[in-house]
């Protein structure tokens, strides 16, 4: 009976969404703001990567909110998981095999470098702060798997995270002071497709990269230490 009810409910929802989706034309670029972003994006923000011009330029405030969502999730996870610390039993940890151990020591700096490249070039090539941050966090995951005796210094990761968040907000407030608008692009936009172009966008993306990287690394740290 209960299952029947659930299936019926799902069918109703699916039906409604299908009917609604039928109204949305497929493959026709009719969105007003989408066209504007594609045609004017480079000119208005200076970023040749249109996705970045939307994420950090037009909708930069959403991005500030999104890194805050991630921040809240990290802190929340820490608060909840931290309460189990006393109950956990010290399990015997088997040392990683030679291949993983060597691989992790060799790959760790390379992965960090790739992550940094991704977020520094966010306004030029596909990728950006979130992607670069996630790659950086994966380096730390590998380090935890391979060299199980190494740990992230908690204070250092907190500091990096804080610097990232503060830079974002400080850049926004400087924009407010100079250009009357929060996150106003107050730096010269430069030549498109140059590394030093697009004004504040690279600065904000580096800040996001640092913050996301340290947040995700913090999540991994929390889950590994206290599981």
């Amino acid at each position: 009976m209960r299952k029947l009810f659930v299936i019926l409910l799902l069918l109703i929802i699916a039906g409604g969404i299908t009917l609604s989706l039928k109204e949305i034309p497929f493959g026709i670029p009719k969105t007003k703001i989408g066209d504007h972003f594609i045609n004017k994006g480079v000119e208005e923000t200076g970023s040749v990567n249109i996705v970045t011009s939307v994420v950090v330029g037009y909708r930069g405030f959403d991005t500030l909110g999104e890194i805050t969502v991630l921040f809240a999730a990290t802190i929340g996870l820490g608060a909840v998981i931290g309460t189990f610390r006393k109950n956990s039993v010290n399990r015997e940890v088997e040392a990683a095999s030679l291949i993983v151990y060597t691989g992790c020591r060799f790959l760790f700096p390379v992965i960090l470098l790739v992550g940094t490249y991704i977020f520094i070039h966010g306004h030029l090539t596909p990728g950006g702060g979130f992607q670069g941050g996630a790659i950086i966090a994966s380096a730390f995951l590998l380090m935890y798997l391979g060299c199980s005796n190494k740990r992230i210094k908690e204070n250092l990761s907190k500091t990096v995270e804080m610097i990232g968040g503060l830079t974002f907000i400080a850049v926004g407030i400087i924009g407010l002071a100079i250009g009357q608008d929060f996150l106003f692009n107050f730096l010269p936009k430069g030549e498109p497709a140059e590394l030093l172009s697009a004004g504040i966008i690279p600065i904000v993306y580096i800040a996001i990269g640092l913050k996301v990287g340290s947040e995700l690394a913090g999540i991994i740290d929390n889950l590994i230490q206290k599981s």
């Binding site: 009917l19 405030f61 959403d62 809240a72 802190i75 909840v80 804080m162 608008d181 996150l183 106003f184």
Partner: protein, 491 residues
């Protein structure tokens, strides 16, 4: 001129730097929410006179809407901002002495993020931005519910998490469907394109929005998480969840229904839902032995009453609903704060353990009594004008349906009176069972000050409701005048 965006980014920035102050001294951390919310209170009060003349529009990043994100600080937005900052400020004082266990740094960060999220929801003019801030609000409340880390609080946080996440998914789907059809995310731009809600493609997103926001607002039948979550959270958090979080959920729902969709045809449905929520909440509250569960169920009932009043959709009805919202925010936070301290002293949430508290803790018990009387709607407290306005607004409509519904609302008020008086009776008219512990205990100042200030507001506004009615009338007209809202953002 102060820019309303500072109301969001300054607390956010301060939340980011809490660990930095933690490096200097762990003792400073608890003052950060206090400072941030004091700032918000001052700034939002300074914005009030300007906003009453004309809503303040701010675009972000120098892009005009609909291409960039904009904030709309209208009367209703600033009214909520003031409420959030005021209650948040007082509760942050309460937390000085109340929060002593576990990881306090994380508590203060999450607390500040919760209120920042709430402020963002009420100020933004962009539907996706609203969703982002709504997520900040929800995620920080999930983790704060689990703050104590015992079995019950984890269980209720997980319940809340699952239902809340489902609700958020539905909202996101609704946003996606709207974006697909209209290619814009700005609320005013969307509202300008939505002419009627009768086609399926518009009605489905509306349903998704109402369901999604209904979870956070705890509208029946989406209220299952609330009694557990509000009762197992720390009392300071229960006060904020009950006084602010569910109201913000209701705000988002009403904003979407009135401004985004202009959906006057579903208001009767919402009204019925409101009355059912009211009756269920009050009946369940009546059966509770646990004081915090009782208060939590009472919040469900009050939300139902607000939903009913707002769905009358006359200027008078919405004013009454907002008045009820203000009175519930002040009254319920007071009740949770006072009850929280009595629970802290007696060590039990059972109503019977409160017997004789009137002698042991005279000030806290008096404040609890005033809060309870106000929620029930006795004059001269703030709850009375609110309920009176709602009843009058419904009777003005002169329809049979309203008269019947008013009968149920008054019935619910009687039930409400019965269970609140039971607690008051336990406080004052029952002798304490174990007589060893009879000495009077005066709460520390950090507990008493917020309780006194809230009591003061309840009494003063109860005697002079005119203090806030002007603001509420202009908030109501902002909600009702959809065309003006659209025109002011998209000229």
């Amino acid at each position: 001129m102060v820019n309303p965006v500072l109301l969001i980014v300054i607390p956010l920035g301060l939340a980011f730097v809490v660990p930095f102050f933690g490096f200097i001294s762990k003792k400073i951390e608890k003052f950060i929410p206090f400072v941030a919310l004091f700032f918000n209170l001052i700034v939002s009060l300074r914005l009030f006179p300007r906003v009453l003349e004309q809503p303040v529009h701010v675009s972000i990043g120098g892009f005009v809407p609909p291409f960039g994100i904009n904030l709309v600080a209208g009367p209703i937005g600033i009214l909520f901002t003031v409420l959030i900052a005021l209650v948040g400020f007082l509760v942050s004082i309460y937390a000085f002495d109340y929060i002593k266990e576990k990881d306090q740094e994380k508590y203060h960060i999450l607390y500040l993020l919760l209120l920042t999220g709430a402020t963002g929801v009420v100020l933004t003019g962009d539907i996706f931005n609203l969703f982002v801030f709504f997520e900040i609000l929800c995620i920080s409340s999930y983790s704060l519910v689990a703050y104590f880390g015992d079995k019950t609080s984890i269980e209720s946080a997980v319940k809340y998490l699952i239902q809340g996440a489902l609700g958020s998914c539905l909202i996101l789907m609704g946003i996606g469907l709207l974006y697909g059809q209209f290619g814009t995310l700005n609320m005013a731009d969307l509202a300008g394109n939505i002419k009627s809600v009768h086609s399926v493609s518009i009605f489905v997103p509306l349903v998704l929005f109402i369901t999604g926001f209904g979870v956070e607002a705890a509208i029946f039948p989406l209220n299952a998480w609330l009694p557990d979550a509000h009762s197992s959270a720390p009392s300071s958090i229960s006060a904020v969840l009950s006084g602010i979080a569910i109201e913000v959920g209701l705000y988002a729902m009403i904003r979407v229904v009135f401004t985004l969709f202009g959906a006057s045809s579903i208001l009767t449905f919402l009204m019925l839902l409101g009355v059912i929520t009211l009756l269920i909440g009050e009946l369940c509250a009546f059966c509770q032995e646990n004081i915090k569960r009782m208060l939590a169920y009472s919040s469900i009932g009050q939300i139902g009453l607000m939903l009913f009043a707002l769905s009358i959709a006359s200027s008078y009805g919405i004013t009454g609903g907002l008045f009820q919202l203000v009175s519930h925010t002040l009254g319920k936070s007071l009740l949770f704060l006072a009850a929280g301290y009595m629970i802290y002293r007696s060590g039990s949430m059972n109503i019977s353990s409160f017997e004789g508290m009137g002698k042991r803790m005279p000030y806290t018990a008096l404040a609890f009594t005033i809060g309870a009387f106000s929620i029930v709607g006795l004059p001269p407290f703030i709850g009375f004008p609110g309920k009176l306005m709602i009843v009058k607004a419904a009777l003005f409509e002169q329809e049979m349906l309203y008269t019947v519904l008013i009968f149920f609302i008054l019935l619910a008020t009687v039930i409400e009176g019965a269970y609140y008086f039971r607690v008051v009776q336990a406080l004052y008219f029952k002798e304490e069972k174990n007589t060893q512990n009879q000495k009077r205990e005066i709460a520390p100042l950090s507990i008493l000050i917020p309780i006194f200030i809230l009591t003061g507001f309840i009494v003063v506004i109860g005697i002079y409701p005119k203090l806030i009615t002007d603001v509420l009338v202009s908030s109501a007209s902002e909600l009702l005048n959809r065309a003006d809202y659209i025109k002011s953002v998209m000229p």
